[in-house]
Each structure stands twice: as structure tokens, then as C-alpha cells.
């Protein structure tokens, strides 16, 4: 049997739902550009939020000169960094030096493909869903290693190695927590447990959010997987290289780690990658644990009032986006507050936490999840 599979046909098997499947050509670019615009504004908002919340914690006023309440501070910083001189180390590896920040940013930006802001508001409803984020975030350490190596500076190099070691150590508890969530059972009609070949229990993010929509607030995965939530929180903070896992940027020890020799727009790319990573991690926390776009106060039929059916309704979509962002803000607030609350961990403490503490706990969480599903069968 000879099948002439064209490229379109093979790529079709990569996705499960088909709102955009019939629309080819340049029209693809509009949702992507919209999402990029949203993300950019999101980063500006996060930078402002971080400064205001940090200021409030430290009992001072944050930025106040750039725009009202300092809203334009992030744009001012970006413009300054754009106009700075782009220094290159004279005997470093110039190509690796230049490509390194780009790889860090690209790997983070590609993860936004699978985040659902609403039922149909996802760029690519892939069958492998969350696993795309896990896979693409595994490419980020390569960028860090390239930046550290290309800087021709042994402290940058050491910082790059440590950052890569940190990244790969915390990927495993992250992946195991995501795996525990993907092992959900669906209670179909008649309270029968749905067997795997009856429906698509894949890692699709839309399906993960849908599985949390039944009981409102109590349907969140947070209650089904509390240990997993904590491990995921810690691991994603470590992946984003935020305090308390800030060692690659530690100022006394490694100057600025792998970012030491960077100036101008390349430094801005690292800065951007850090906040983009934070945003994507917080969005994944809401999708995986906090119920995504579901309006989580049970027994209030407000969503149904504003939606004619589940598929249409601009106002419904806006509410969905708003709810997702409000839940993401929770994680952002937690991570910004943690930055000024906990002291920085040393590299051996960090790696010990990842390999010797979080990995066994996440394995135990997986075991607990699977055994509790066996019991309920």
C-alpha cells in the first residue's frame, strides 16, 4: 500500500482539533502576531509589577518618573538597552556569543504555542500539548552553555555551566509532575471510569483544563495533586532562574554569571527571556493546577449567561482570557514575593534539592497518583 503523504497531511496528524486546520496560508500569521503582541505587553506588565511589588515589600516607592506610576519604565529600560553599544569579546567565539541569547529566547517563545487562554483560544491544540513545553525548555541549557563558553571569561563559563546544570536538574521533577497530571482519569457519564481507548486522554492542554472544569473551585488539580503543585512551583522557579535559585546571576560570586560580557540588545534578550520564562511558567501553573480559563466559583451560572454556546461569544472569550491572566498573576505574585523573602541557595544546596529531594518526592507523587487510580478502579 503506497501512500503519498503530502506535507499537509502529515502535519495534520500532529494536532487534534481543527479550528485553524482549514485555513492555510498567510492568515496563520494573525493569531501568532496577536499572541506575540500579548506576550510583549505581558512582559512589560511583569517588569512593572516586579518593581512595584518589590518596592512595596522593601517599603520604598518603585519607579515613578517614567510615565504615570512608572508604567513606561520597562519601555525606557528597553530603549536604553537598544541604544547601548554592542560589545563583543575580542578573543571569544563571536558566533556562539551572538547566537546564545537567541536560543534562550526562542525556546521560551515557542512554548507559548500550547497555552490555552480559552476553549478555542490556543495557537496549536497539539496532541502532545504540555510535553512540547517540556521538550523545548530542554533546549534552553544549550543557549546558556553557548553564551558562557563564547564569552572568553572563566567566570562566565563557570556561571554558564552552573546554569545549565541547574536547568537540567530541575527538568526531571517538572516532567514527573506534568506526567502525574496527564495520568488523570475521566469520570464519564454514569460515573464510569473512561478507559483509555474511549476518549483521547492525551497531554493536550485544552483537555487538561477541561478535566478541571466540573466542580468549579474544587475541581482544580491543585487539590488532586498538592505535592505535585509544590514540586512544580519550586521546579519552575528553578527553571526560570529566579531567586532563591538565582546563582547563575549571583552578583558577588560570579559577577553576573553567563550574562557578564553581554551589553545592549543581547543583554536585553536575556532579560526578556527571563521574564518570558516566568510568564510561561505562571501560565502553565494556571493551566495545569489552577483550572485554566474556568470561572472557578461553583454554582454560579455567569459563564453560561454570557455564552450562547461554548464555542462562540466574544464576551465569553474575553472573560476566559481575563480569568487565565488573573490566575497567572497569583503565581507571579508568589514568585516576586519569594524573590525578596528567601536567601539565595548555593549551587550544591540547589543541586541537592533537585536531585535528592524533589526527584524522589515527584516519583513518590507519581506512585501515589497511579496507585490511587488503581484503587478507584
Amino acid at each position: 500500500m503506497i501512500i503519498d503523504t503530502t506535507e499537509v497531511q502529515t502535519i495534520n496528524s500532529f494536532s487534534t482539533s481543527g479550528f485553524f486546520k482549514e485555513v492555510y496560508g498567510l492568515i496563520w500569521i494573525i493569531p501568532i502576531l496577536t499572541l506575540i503582541l500579548e506576550i510583549t505587553i505581558g512582559v512589560l506588565v511583569i517588569v512593572w509589577l516586579e518593581r512595584e511589588i518589590s518596592a512595596a515589600i522593601q517599603q520604598r516607592i518603585g519607579p515613578e518618573y517614567a510615565g504615570p506610576l512608572g508604567i513606561l519604565q520597562a519601555i525606557a529600560d528597553g530603549t536604553k538597552l537598544l541604544l547601548k553599544e554592542d560589545l563583543l569579546p575580542s578573543r571569544g567565539d563571536i558566533r556562539l556569543f551572538s547566537v546564545g541569547p537567541s536560543i534562550a529566547v526562542i525556546s521560551v517563545l515557542l512554548s507559548y504555542l500550547v497555552i490555552p487562554f480559552g476553549y478555542r483560544l490556543v495557537l496549536a491544540d497539539l496532541g502532545i500539548g504540555v510535553f512540547l513545553w517540556i521538550a523545548i525548555s530542554s533546549i534552553a541549557p544549550i543557549g546558556l552553555l553557548m553564551s558562557g563558553y563564547g564569552s572568553n571569561n572563566k567566570y562566565s563559563f563557570s556561571g554558564g555551566l552552573r546554569a545549565a546544570a541547574q536547568s537540567i536538574s530541575y527538568e526531571i521533577p517538572l516532567t514527573l509532575c506534568v506526567l502525574s497530571i496527564s495520568l488523570r482519569l475521566e469520570i464519564g457519564r454514569n460515573d464510569q471510569v473512561v478507559l483509555p481507548y474511549d476518549s483521547d486522554l492525551d497531554s493536550s492542554t485544552v483537555d487538561i483544563v477541561e478535566a478541571q472544569s466540573k466542580y468549579g473551585f474544587w475541581g482544580w488539580n491543585l487539590w488532586r495533586q498538592p505535592i505535585g503543585f509544590l514540586v512544580f512551583l519550586i521546579s519552575s522557579l528553578a527553571e526560570c532562574e529566579r531567586l532563591p535559585f538565582d546563582l547563575p546571576e549571583a552578583e558577588e560570586e560570579l559577577v553576573a554569571g553567563y550574562q557578564t560580557e553581554y551589553s545592549g540588545i543581547k543583554y536585553a534578550l536575556f532579560y526578556l527571556a527571563s521574564y518570558l520564562n516566568l510568564l510561561v511558567s505562571s501560565l502553565f501553573v494556571t493551566v495545569l493546577y489552577l483550572g485554566g480559563w474556568n470561572f472557578s466559583i461553583p454554582y454560579i451560572p455567569i459563564p453560561e449567561l454570557f455564552r450562547i454556546n461554548q464555542m462562540a461569544g466574544i464576551f465569553g472569550m474575553t472573560i476566559d482570557i481575563f480569568i487565565t491572566l488573573a490566575k497567572a498573576y497569583l503565581f507571579l505574585f508568589i514568585s516576586i514575593t519569594t524573590r525578596w523573602t528567601l536567601p539565595r541557595m548555593r549551587i550544591d544546596q540547589l543541586l541537592n534539592l533537585g536531585w535528592k529531594f524533589l526527584l524522589p518526592i515527584s516519583l513518590g507523587n507519581l506512585l501515589l497518583t497511579t496507585s490511587s487510580q488503581l484503587v478507584s478502579l
Binding site: 500532529f14 496532541g127 502532545i128 510535553f131 541549557p141 544549550i142 537540567i168 527538568e171
Partner: protein, 230 residues
């Protein structure tokens, strides 16, 4: 078109792995080979395997290679005219590979090959996969953990052996290194560890001044005279 772009990038990157002078560049081209192969797997419809390639090969194996290559001072090889002495044996092996490739290739899609057969390619849809299709993950799980579970267990044993080997190799000399116990260090109190010259312990005031010296470099308390070792 995507197929030809990805395959040609994969082939060129593979060539550059061998030809790059700097070993770090060599490993980075190796990573590029895996990225392109991952794309080819997506084209084949194996999305899960593409992601596994990214996680395992690029995220773990290539990072491992990079750690090794970057940390060891491997001299950059200069490729002079001496490359020709490899030609006889490598030429024979290369020709054998070429012959094998022509033997295996799907001939209809490369019309200019000398082995091209004159058949028209049929195009039709596989309707069976539209009725009910399993995801890659379900297919893999249904086979790997039921019919072929022995292979799964054996491969996990191999990885266990590798892990134990690594621990044995690196733990060999460091079992007697004295380690710091942070909690014990923090619990030490200056009053108990510092003794003055005449054998007395520090009084509370002296312990306080000692702590001030340690923390701030000079005692902040004004009006205190510190004489000798008081």
C-alpha cells in the same frame, strides 16, 4: 519542501560535525542534526518521538557532550593535507554505505536515480486512521508495557548500571572529605568557642562586641572602650 530543507540541513550539519575544527562547534552541529531529525519525525507523524528526541538527545546527551568538551582543553585539530591518508579504507566504507542507501531508498520519489522504476505513485487516504486513532503515546504504551516489557526492563537495568558506574567512579576518592555541617556551624556560639587569655570565657558584653566586629567590622555601640582583649 519542508522535507528537503530539513533533510539537507541534517546532512550538512552531519558533515560539519566531522569537519569542524573546534570540538565545541562539532557538538553544536551534532545538536543541529538532532533538531532537524526531530523535524523529520514530525513530518512522519511521530510527534511524541520528536519531542522525546528533543528531551533526551538534545536536553541530556548533547548537554553531557558539551559539558565534557567544554571543560577539557581539547586541542583544536588542524586539518592539513594529511587527510588523504584516510582515503583508501574510508573510501571503501563510504562506497558500501552509498550502495546500501541506494538499495533501500524509496525509488519513486527520486526520479533521477538510475534505479528509478517507472510507476505512478498512488495517492489515497487511509480512512482507518480517521475513524479512531490512537495518539503516539497510547500506541507506544500499549506495546511497550505489555508485549515487549522485557526490553523495557532490560533497558532500565542498563541505565541503572550506567548510573552505578558513574557513582563508583566519582565516589572513590571523596568519601573521606570532611564536609561542613551548616546547622552545626550556625549553632556555634561565640561565647562557647572563644576563650580569653586568662582562661575565662567571654562575658555577655564581650560576646556582643565580638559579634558586632564579626558582622559589621566595628562595634556600633558608642561609648564602649575595647581594651586589649576585653
Amino acid at each position: 519542501m519542508i522535507l528537503s530543507v530539513l533533510s539537507s540541513f541534517a546532512l550538512v550539519s552531519g558533515l560539519m560535525v566531522v569537519r569542524a575544527k573546534n570540538p565545541v562547534h562539532s557538538v553544536l552541529f551534532f545538536i543541529l542534526v538532532f533538531c532537524n531529525t526531530s523535524g523529520l519525525l514530525i513530518l512522519l507523524g511521530l510527534d511524541f518521538f520528536a519531542m522525546i528526541f528533543l528531551v533526551v538527545y538534545i536536553g541530556a546527551i548533547a548537554v553531557l557532550f558539551l559539558f565534557v568538551v567544554m571543560m577539557f582543553n581539547i586541542q583544536i585539530a588542524e586539518i592539513h593535507e594529511e587527510v588523504l591518508r584516510y582515503l583508501p579504507v574510508s573510501g571503501i566504507i563510504g562506497l558500501i554505505f552509498w550502495w546500501e542507501m541506494f538499495f533501500i531508498l524509496d525509488n519513486e520519489t527520486i526520479p533521477l536515480l538510475p534505479t528509478h522504476r517507472n510507476t505512478t505513485s498512488l495517492r489515497y487516504m487511509v480512512y482507518a486512521e480517521k475513524v479512531q486513532s490512537w495518539t503516539n503515546l497510547e500506541t507506544l504504551g500499549n506495546l511497550l508495557y505489555t508485549h515487549y516489557f522485557v526490553w523495557f526492563l532490560v533497558s532500565s537495568l542498563i541505565l541503572l548500571v550506567a548510573m552505578i558506574g558513574a557513582i563508583v567512579l566519582t565516589m572513590h576518592r571523596t568519601t573521606r572529605v570532611k564536609r561542613q555541617d551548616i546547622f552545626r556551624k550556625n549553632a556555634l556560639d561565640s561565647r562557647r568557642i572563644i576563650m580569653k587569655e586568662d582562661g575565662r570565657d567571654l562575658s555577655r558584653r564581650e560576646a556582643y562586641i565580638y559579634n558586632e566586629y564579626i558582622s559589621f567590622g566595628s562595634p556600633r555601640v558608642s561609648g564602649f572602650e575595647t581594651s586589649g582583649g576585653a
